[in-house]
Symmetry: C3
Subunit: 339 residues, 3 copies
């Protein structure tokens, strides 16, 4: 099939992503009208969404198109994702048929599928997303998989440039935060990739043992080399890491080495309940004016304190708004036109 998916930002060239961000800036300034007339985006949500759904649905509409929102297992059929299986259990439709059929109705298909337990070796394959990409004859967009959240990554890159101007050589700290659940690693990996793509000096601050997928870590390193940024630093001292930061990205995730092990996770997490982005920590950033970022949804006073979220350093709402603009640019690039 001759088509171009958007499963990970790094699948596209630096030049392509730069063009996309430039288009997003024009879109945000209101300079791009139409371009998606008679175009349909089918969105398949295997997990909940507020921003992703609303921003894509709004983006399609604003340029003359339409988004159809499907929720398998709720309004539509439960999907089978294993190949070659005898489907005599609970699943009613195979992802193969869903992908093929939606590819006939829509001009692009967007899929959200978080990791679903089991072991990490399996979850990291992103089977649902990859199967959609393989079987759908139209371009597939990743709305967050086990491994990446590329639309968030675009928005984060766009927001860093918007807020910091020149990003090269500035300090970006991705800091782990406590959370009652072991969350996926797609967002922290994507945030790190966004920072090094922008030429920033990346520090990842997390408790000892809080590992990311080794291949993802390698990819972050490679991209920082390609982008000419400093080698990423991995540290365990949150306070030291945040000192002098230009941008702080707070995010919780579960260590991949204990992925899916509920009891071990609970014990591990209990030790780090104090990892929280506070106003005191934000005061130590560059000139006390470093920006605070988060992909949302955020648990207030658990991941980030009220004082930060409601204060002048938080850019989380602008960051969420930018989802809309980068996605409009993405859709115009993938299935539209930009006269």
């Amino acid at each position: 099939m001759n088509k171009r998916d958007f499963l990970a930002v790094e699948d596209w060239s630096f030049a392509e992503i730069e063009a996309l961000l430039a288009l997003a800036a024009r879109v945000k300034r209101g300079e791009v009208l139409g371009g998606l007339e008679r175009k349909v985006l089918a969105m398949v949500f295997l997990d909940p969404s507020l921003r992703t759904r609303t921003s894509f649905e709004t983006g399609m509409f604003l340029h003359g198109g339409h988004a159809v929102v499907l929720e398998p297992g709720k309004g539509s059929w439960v999907l089978e994702t294993e190949d070659g299986v005898v489907m005599d259990g609970d699943t009613v439709e195979h992802v193969t048929e869903a992908a093929r059929v939606l590819g006939r109705y829509a001009d692009a298909v967007a899929v959200r599928s978080f990791p679903r337990g089991g072991d990490w070796a399996t979850a990291r394959q992103d089977a649902v997303l990859q199967q959609f990409a393989r079987h759908c004859e139209k371009p597939v967009i990743n709305l967050e998989s086990s491994r990446r959240h590329p639309c968030q990554e675009l928005a984060d890159a766009f927001t860093l440039r918007e807020k910091l101007g020149e990003t090269r050589g500035k300090k970006f700290v991705l800091t782990w935060a406590w959370h009652p659940k072991a969350l996926p690693t797609a967002v922290p990996v994507s945030a790190a990739l966004a920072a090094v793509r922008m030429g920033m000096d990346l520090t990842i601050a997390a408790p000892e043992g809080c590992d990311l997928d080794p291949e993802d870590v390698r990819r972050i390193g490679e991209l920082s080399t390609e982008a000419g940024s400093a080698a990423p630093a991995f540290v365990h001292d949150q306070a030291a890491a945040l000192a002098g930061a230009d941008a702080v990205y707070a995010k919780s995730w579960g260590p991949v080495s204990i992925y899916g092990q509920a009891e071990t996770q609970r014990t591990w997490f209990d030790r780090y309940r104090d990892w929280r982005l506070t106003a005191d920590l934000m005061a130590t950033t560059r000139d006390g004016r470093g920006i605070a970022m988060h992909c949302l949804p955020v648990r207030r006073n658990v991941e980030i304190d009220d004082a930060v979220l409601d204060g002048p350093q938080s850019v989380v709402v602008d960051e969420a708004e930018n989802r809309l603009h980068v996605q409009r640019a993405l859709l115009l690039t993938m299935i539209g036109s930009t006269r």
Copy 2:
């Protein structure tokens, strides 16, 4: 923030509401095309809906706009509504962020949030709606809260004028009806407000002890004075109340004095199972031709008998249709244009 919400009809001036009803009449006659091009309404339903959702979604479309429908806890994240809380429980996103972010994607945000147990002193604060209004930078529309159902109130006022012509001095009876559940008071309060706004003589017929919120009752009295209508009458004899009525509005609600007390409610309700709008009662209205109103959904043969709903005195379907027209007028007024 410099914006105009629509949380309660009485927040707007008499002249503004009159202008809105006049525009709704033009809309219903098909005289108003377009006016909402490139406009997006985000609708947040914390409770179910058929009429509200369909009429708003249709109204936006008919004038060139688009409505996004969100259901937190189903397709989107469970919302936290308390301020300052440490979000380490079940809620994933705070209403503050939802309101702020939706205000960036949409031109207006509409919210449905019924009372959810606890005590009436808390429920009557309408925290979810008020928080949306406070944190969203775009206008917020109330799709029914604990206290008001202002879109229904507009439709009721419009329907009274449409059906009765001159409404001033005519008799409007809001009669309580039995129901297997203790329902909210938003609709009966809004219906009473609609009637006195139209200058009608309001009688509220309900069993002894079936109280509404005292501040709401005071507000109904104040509005009847402002509108130059007779002082509302509160009676316990349903048959006597309905005699000679021009309009009868049947509606069940739970007494606010026993709000949230399941056992007490059950005992109280058991005594009044015979409060039901029957054809015999409707025959006693003015010339046997008084109109029967209800906001829908209605429990047949529990609140209102089949013979009434399927007979010539019922205007409930016209009343529901008018939701569409008043809301189109509301949207055009709040976020559109009416060339």
Copy 3:
């Protein structure tokens, strides 16, 4: 009420259906633009959907209209379907009001309601669909009821002609397949009706005792006479039936004589687990090139083997795509224009 519903294909004349299929062909070739401007379709799903929902929503949009998707019991109220009932139980709204009100908001109302247990004598009445048709003042479209799936039937007829060219006198085999649940008979009956309408020689291959509704069988026979096709053959030998077939339609259903009897069904089904459409069976079709059809969703390696679904004889994805085109033609015919 002066309106035209689409509850079953055979309610329309041969000439009307031929015109519809001809329009669908023009639609598929991209020759028909617009025609549904300012038109609204309200879709009521009492059961899940992927193709039906996406194809109707896409179809409305492609011609300038809009589809509203409602799911009673999920986002909207639980519907009561019995007439005259005292609604003091779980149902909140009667289908009568839903049908009347949606008829005021929308230009057509489409309803999906599968059989829901009880006995077949009741289920075969299609009460929900019939009540919508009776109470809604706008045209009602059947999105699959207990008895018929007319949109699938149109797509099947269209696909047979598209794939086989001249259909008259060619061999169509509807073969039963095993399935872990006793499925409804709407699709097999509709598929059989599509085949005889196209003038094909119909064979229905199913295990002994696997009966369809007698009135539906009679209707298939009548239509084959009207269409000038051979009398349908009912056989129990799957392999013999498939030999030389031009088209094979695999579909599971529960015998209507044991409808709703879970234990009896289990015992009966256990005996026929080997009824499955395999590549070996497909090799026995005419020149080894007969087409394999299915309405989807399909249980892989239960109803049809991977080798068939992923092989060159399968037309199931084209068949699903054709849903879109026949439905666009249907909507243009029922509520639109075809300049």
